[in-house]
């Protein structure tokens, strides 16, 4: 967390998904190369300051992707991984799919931001398949993103709508990757997955003790 950037959210309340995106955006270093997954991760782009120098990668073959395109700027040949029309920034580059995934799988991206169904205390990620018997499996680039980036950040709500924790001792959904998550941004807290265990970096409208009571895993207080 960068202490000299202002906080946009009220720390006494749980964060909205936009606030989570803002908190995460604040932690992306200047000039980082970043891939934002489809859905919640995409919101992070809206909270990067104009001078962030962050370069966005989209796995369908582009570096230095700009914001979503509207009106006349829409070009069917230029979309992001969610197939949404986007724009190109100065210094962009295009490449084919094998080169794009080589870039990802070869460990060249500084940060990849993904959504999740579950993250385990060991950093296992489940985000591609509910495991429901009638579900049609569809993985896209999730497994490649999970194993490839230097740091994998997850953004999700900490609990499901029915109140079940999504940060868990062990994932019950089918896995996307083993031990690949570094940090988890949620509405109630930010967690670091460390070799020593899950460490709470920051809480929003709750406390480490309260969270410890609702999660089925030990929590370490933040170092600093």
């Amino acid at each position: 967390m960068n202490p000299d950037r202002p906080r946009a959210h009220d720390e006494r309340r749980p964060l909205s998904k936009h606030d989570v995106a803002a908190v995460l955006a604040r932690d992306i270093p200047h000039g980082a190369f970043v891939n934002l997954g489809i859905g919640r991760p995409t919101l992070v782009a809206d909270h990067l300051p104009a001078d962030s120098g962050v370069v966005l990668h989209t796995e369908n073959g582009m570096l230095n992707m700009g914001p979503a395109a509207h009106g006349d700027a829409i070009d069917p040949d230029l979309t992001n991984a969610g197939k949404v029309p986007v724009t190109e920034l100065p210094g962009a580059a295009y490449f084919h799919h094998a080169d794009s995934f080589a870039m990802m799988r070869g460990g060249h991206l500084d940060i990849c931001v993904l959504g999740a169904f579950q993250v385990s205390a060991a950093g296992d990620l489940a985000n591609w398949h509910t495991g429901a018997p009638d579900a049609i499996p569809a993985v896209g680039g999730a497994m490649d993103l999970a194993i490839g980036a230097k740091k994998v950040f997850v953004t999700m709500t900490l609990f499901t709508r029915t109140g079940a924790p999504k940060l868990v001792p062990r994932c019950t959904y089918p896995l996307t990757g083993l031990g690949c998550v570094d940090r988890v941004y949620t509405d109630l807290a930010v967690f670091d997955i460390t070799p020593q265990g899950v460490m709470v970096r920051e809480t929003f409208g709750t406390t480490v003790d309260e969270l410890a009571g609702r999660l089925d895993l030990p929590l370490l207080p933040a170092r600093d």
Partner: protein, 222 residues
């Protein structure tokens, strides 16, 4: 031999056999060779294995090919989309097989087929359902999965421009799977917006060299 310019997409897809493996370029609609897929539907080849990132949208293109019952198996990374109802129905009815491949493995396995790589080890998918039954090996302390090439009998790809020899350039993110698929099939058929004279493409900017392209057809709408 350098590429043959075809007058019409029907000529370009002539001779595709029943039972073929067909690599189909595109990511969503970007780079999708729509004319060639429509021509393949008219051509009638059946019992196809289709390798493509997705499994069709709405009821045109790949979805229409699926709806006609011509596809035995789909190899893709992401079959489900908001409007993939044709595939969804066939799949739930057990009328089409599905092999889900992580997108990076899909691209790299197709590249391997074109590059003479017999198999490769990669960490993607290790410890997941999609690596079940696959050979693994720990390399540098990390579990890697052994992946084999995906080769096509035919590749149908969309590009921006071709010269008369078959050199191709693409445009923006419509490049996606075209360049790797062009290396990995026995017969490579490209749909382009424009055919230009040989010598007018800058040789530094050619993405798919002519050696990979067998047939070229200009888009009907272009």
């Amino acid at each position: 031999m350098t590429a043959r310019l075809c007058a019409h997409a029907d000529e370009a897809v002539a001779g595709i056999q029943d039972g073929s493996t067909v690599l189909v370029g595109g990511f969503g609609m970007a780079g999708m060779p729509v004319d060639l897929i429509d021509a393949l539907i008219r051509q009638g080849a059946k019992d196809l294995t289709v390798v493509s990132n997705n499994a069709g949208n709405g009821d045109t293109g790949l979805a229409a090919l699926l709806a006609k019952g011509r596809v035995r198996k789909v190899v893709c990374s992401f079959p489900r989309q908001a409007d993939s109802y044709v595939f969804d129905e066939l799949y739930r009815a057990g009328r089409v097989e599905l092999e889900v491949v992580p997108q990076g493995n899909l691209a790299e396995r197709i590249r391997a087929a074109g590059a003479g790589i017999g198999a490769f080890f990669c960490p993607t998918g290790a410890g997941t359902l999609l690596a079940e039954g696959k050979e693994t090996r720990v390399i540098d302390g990390r579990v890697h999965v052994l992946e084999y090439p995906i080769k096509g009998d035919v590749a149908l790809i969309g590009a921006h421009r071709a010269d008369r020899m078959g050199n191709l350039v693409y445009r923006k993110t419509a490049r996606n799977f075209g360049p790797v698929m062009a290396t990995a099939a026995t017969t490579v058929i490209a749909q382009v917006r424009e055919v230009v004279d040989t010598g007018t493409l800058d040789p530094e900017t050619v993405v798919t060299p002519s050696i990979y392209v067998d047939r070229v057809v200009q888009e009907a709408s272009a």
